[in-house]
């Protein structure tokens, strides 16, 4: 860890969100405070309906919070920004474009220089093992390869923040683990601030510098956990898997204990520890 000197990339203060429709009122998020450091890898883990995707959309500027303040690199978020990229659970590739054209899409829309970015696109494709697939159409690729293309597209215009909404959730277990390793490798070569939403405990532990554990109804950050295992991490290395097992066990306890203890023990203690960054 770089320590307390690293600048804050994302600052969430007092975020609450309520979805209101004619029939129902859903309190999705309540009093979220979170500071993500520059180049930090934070995973948001929690059960379905705990508001983790909502929180991610708020950081992305795709959704305005009912209450609260979001800042990226010190500037308030008022809408989608070009220094923040978003990666979806489904690859969201344009089926009529080739792999390379898909990766170049943000460059076209943001009207950036095509030549320099084309080189970057090709480098990214090579980095993700997609060399030689530039002219294929997405429907000719496997699910794992499609998500790799999607990752390249998110990175092509070199955003400083990458938001990932369960990007590997639709993949099979082996591909998923493979992509987790690949993401770590790419991140180590091309540092970004990453917020990664997942409901996989193993994934959360494997990837994160810090894990924000969320509890549902209303969504709150129940605990923040540091993961100190050295990188690159792999489940195949004993030292890593011991540490990751310990973290996973703790996550299990946090995520499932609340269920048996009932909802009553909600906000009082744990989520207040949010701002105490152990570093």
């Amino acid at each position: 860890m770089v320590g307390g000197l690293a600048a804050t990339a994302i600052q969430l203060s007092g975020i609450s969100h309520v979805f209101e429709s004619r029939k129902a009122r859903l309190h999705a998020l309540d009093g979220i405070d979170l500071a993500v450091r520059e180049n930090e890898f934070v995973t948001l883990v929690g059960r379905s309906g705990c508001g983790k995707s909502t929180l991610l959309r708020i950081i992305a500027g795709l959704l305005r919070p009912t209450v609260g303040d979001v800042r990226v690199s010190g500037r308030p978020v008022t809408g989608p920004r070009r220094d923040v990229a978003f990666m979806f659970q489904r690859s969201a590739l344009l089926p009529w474009r080739t792999v390379l054209q898909n990766v170049m899409l943000p460059v076209e829309i943001l009207k950036l220089d095509r030549r320099t970015h084309r080189r970057r696109a090709e480098e990214l494709l090579a980095l993700t093992g997609l060399e030689g697939f530039e002219d294929r159409r997405p429907d000719e690729l496997s699910g794992g390869m499609q998500q790799r293309v999607s990752l390249c597209r998110a990175l092509v215009h070199n955003p400083s923040v990458l938001l990932m909404d369960e990007p590997f959730a639709a993949l099979d277990a082996l591909t998923r683990e493979e992509l987790s390793l690949e993401l770590q490798r790419i991140w180590s070569e091309d540092r970004k601030t990453i917020v990664f939403v997942t409901h996989s405990i193993q994934e959360a532990a494997l990837l994160a510098d810090r894990i924000a554990v969320m509890s549902p109804r209303p969504g709150r950050i129940a605990r923040l956990l540091d993961v100190t295992a050295s990188r690159p991490r792999s489940l195949g290395i004993t030292a890593h898997s011991n540490e990751l097992d310990r973290v996973s066990a703790e996550l299990h306890e946090l995520l499932f204990a609340r269920e048996t203890a009932g909802q009553a023990d909600g906000p009082a203690g744990p989520h207040r520890s949010v701002t105490t960054d152990p570093s």
Binding site: F88, A92, L94, P95, I109
Partner: protein
């Protein structure tokens, strides 16, 4: 690689090529068989029931008539084809902007949509004589009829397509701060194309019908005119020849669109 493996490889490769050729052959062969069987049944019926030629001619009679009258029929075929295609093209040119308006403005959708549904509910054949009164006996009323009849399916399918952009693509466009023009050109319109083609395929068959209806009411050429004229002379064989040519025209136009669809939207093949 051992020889056995090589042989196995070649054998598998060969089997794949053969099955692909087989698949294509099957696609051509099966419809051909259907048509041949239908013609055979037609012929058999004329023999078994011994219908006179002025009621139901045999396939052979019709063929001979087509050969005898080929120059006349060819020119009428061209007339009807031209009317159908021109009307179809105009219908696309008018329908697509309407669809964009419907897809983008809820207010205009509520205003225009009921009017379109009402317009579509009018039996077009009922307007055909009026079109002649308004536009005379030239090509005008035929084109108008084709446009009227093709317009609706194209508007509906295109508007549906423009409104059915997958949510993740809309999110992607938003997350990149795409302008509404960029969103339309790079996301919505291409995503709508498979829907557009559904409407076009319905409309192209209707286009030929529209042209024939237009010709029925008042014309001096075209296959519809040939059918009306031969009815007046009790020349059933010539009427049959015109009908056969009309269905050939419809089939060719339809498959031309299918081919175009493969070229334009290859990603939605299945």
């Amino acid at each position: 690689m051992t020889t056995a493996e090589t042989q196995l490889g070649t054998a598998i490769g060969g089997a794949q090529t053969r099955s692909r050729v087989g698949a294509v052959a099957l696609r051509v062969l099966l419809p051909a068989v259907t048509i041949i069987v239908l013609i055979a049944l037609w012929w058999l019926a004329t023999v078994v029931f011994d219908w006179p030629a002025y009621l139901v001619p045999t396939p052979g009679d019709v063929w001979n008539e087509m050969v005898d009258q080929r120059s006349l029929l060819a020119s009428d075929f061209k007339t009807t084809l031209f009317e159908s295609l021109l009307g179809f093209g105009l219908a696309i040119a008018i329908a697509v902007p309407f669809a964009v308006v419907i897809a983008y403005s809820r207010l205009l959708e509520l205003t225009i949509y009921p009017a379109l549904v009402a317009l579509n509910a009018i039996p077009k054949i009922a307007i055909a004589p009026l079109l002649v009164i308004w536009m005379g006996f030239g090509i005008g009323p035929k084109i108008a009829m084709v446009v009227l009849i093709c317009f609706f399916p194209i508007v509906i399918s295109t508007a549906t397509g423009l409104k059915s952009t997958p949510a993740e693509l809309v999110d992607l466009a938003r997350s990149l701060s795409a302008s509404s023009v960029q969103e339309f050109v790079k996301f919505r319109f291409p995503a709508a194309l498979p829907y557009v083609f559904v409407g076009l395929k319905v409309a192209i068959a209707l286009a030929v019908i529209g042209a024939v209806v237009g010709e029925f009411v008042g014309a001096t050429e075209g296959l519809g005119y040939v059918i009306i004229a031969s009815g007046q002379n009790a020349n059933t064989t010539l009427a049959f020849a015109a009908i056969v040519l009309l269905s050939v025209m419809s089939i060719v136009l339809f498959y031309a669109l299918v081919l175009l669809e493969r070229l334009v939207v290859p990603w939605s093949e299945d």
